[in-house]
């Protein structure tokens, strides 16, 4: 994996995932390691994403690296009309690694083709956000003790949610069963169902959310956003349907954990937060370890 960019979850194999998760476990035990001493990491956020940026910044700081960059495009030369290619070719001169977030899809792939240093994609539009997927995998493995043979519930916006799509691709390597819970307008796209059919994996689709989670190992919640609906009436009808409430946890398995890529709006009631099954805040912390593992692995430091 050394010097290999991480652009898409499809770039890594099952062995690559497992190696990263193994490393993440090491960083969780011992987060402050001076592996990036003397290294400079460029953090280029062409669109703001405070949460992801803070997580990467923390990972880099805990590894003892230095950070250059910007947190939104208006403070970069992009606002003067510089092309992405030129920005990347310039910054690649200065840094040992580039972490980038960009609103356009495919931007990270393009960057990886023009850069002499590896690129980590921290999100390219609605396309890919592979470090999120790896932290999700780490959270699942950590809470379940395994990634194999789990029953995964994916809830909310399954049509546009890139985290959901990438997680599905990754978990398909581990014989998962999937339950898709969404309003009809935001159903999982056919191409993913075909993908699961080809792999011979089981999946079930639901439009009702109550009373179906008794055999769930992981419930992965996502936000149903108003702007995804062509008909505002449809949104009004479903906006409160895909909300996880405390009483819905009754009768679920003890090992079941609730994940969410955050930020949450109203799709998980706040009274769920104190449940032992709520795992979304520890999940965010796992993101730091997963990103430390990815950086160390790509730079060949581990």
């Amino acid at each position: 994996m050394k010097n290999k960019s991480l652009v898409s979850i499809n770039d890594f194999t099952k062995d690559d995932y497992l190696r990263i998760l193994e490393l993440a476990k090491e960083f969780e035990k011992d987060p402050n390691q001076n592996l990036l001493d003397g290294k400079v990491v460029a953090s280029l956020f062409f669109e703001p994403s405070t949460r992801t940026k803070l997580s990467f910044d923390t990972a880099i700081n805990r590894l003892g690296g230095r950070i250059i960059g910007f947190s939104d495009a208006s403070s970069s030369s992009t606002s003067k009309g510089e092309s992405l290619k030129d920005t990347i070719m310039t910054v690649a001169n200065y840094a040992d690694l580039i972490v980038m977030r960009h609103p356009l899809e495919g931007s990270a792939r393009l960057a990886s083709e023009v850069s002499q240093v590896p690129i980590i994609n921290a999100g390219d539009g609605a396309n890919q956000h592979p470090t999120q997927t790896l932290l999700d995998l780490y959270s699942i493995q950590k809470t379940q003790g395994t990634l194999e043979n789990l029953n995964i519930f994916l809830v909310g916006d399954l049509k546009y949610g890139r985290t959901v799509h990438s997680l599905l691709i990754a978990m398909s390597e581990f014989n998962a069963t999937f339950n898709f819970v969404s309003p009809p307008e935001l159903r999982i796209p056919d191409e993913y169902k075909q993908f699961l059919d080809n792999k011979g994996l089981k999946y079930y689709e639901h439009t009702d959310f109550e009373g179906i989670m008794h055999n769930a190992d992981i419930v992965y919640m996502t936000r149903v956003q108003r702007e995804r609906f062509s008909d505002p009436m449809e949104y009004e009808k479903v906006k409160n349907v895909y909300v996880l409430k405390r009483d819905m946890l009754e009768g679920t398995k003890d090992n079941m954990k609730i994940l969410h890529p955050l930020p949450r709006v109203n799709e998980i009631s706040e009274d769920v937060d104190t449940s032992d099954q709520a795992y979304y805040f520890p999940q965010a912390l796992n993101g730091v370890y997963a990103r430390q593992a990815i950086i160390a692995s790509i730079l060949g430091l581990k």
């Binding site: 992405l84 356009l104 899809e105 495919g106 792939r109 393009l110």
Partner: protein, 153 residues
Amino acid sequence: MKNEKKQLLVSALENGTVIDHIPAKSLFKVISILGLDHVDNQMTLGGNLNSQRYGKKAIIKISEKFFEQDDINKIALVAPEAKLNVIRHYEVVEKKEVQVPAEIAGIAKCVNPKCITNHQNVTTKFAVIPKDEISLKCHYCEKITDQEHLELL
């Protein structure tokens, strides 16, 4: 009378290439992909000709022009069943078929409005997904452009 008609449609070519079995609606796309709208060679185009196989087909006859296999494969998107006859001294000396390439670059436009290739100066690149109707998976944004949304550059 019959002969005269035939001559009008398909005048004899001394040296060059005949591209036959082009779906009628794809004639101008083939011309554009092969860049025939920018050459000085003599050319005869036949459009909406009756064909037993397609209903309507098109044909291009171009003088003193010979194509490499790579060039021919570029028209796989719009005329996968086209046949090329290479003519020398009025004789067909070689027949070539279109082979669907695994990858194409710089011919088609990605359907995704948020794809980087639609905003910056980047040559498009696609993996070709061979099915009944070819579709393209963008190398950059990973979205699929199907035949219905196919737009050539």
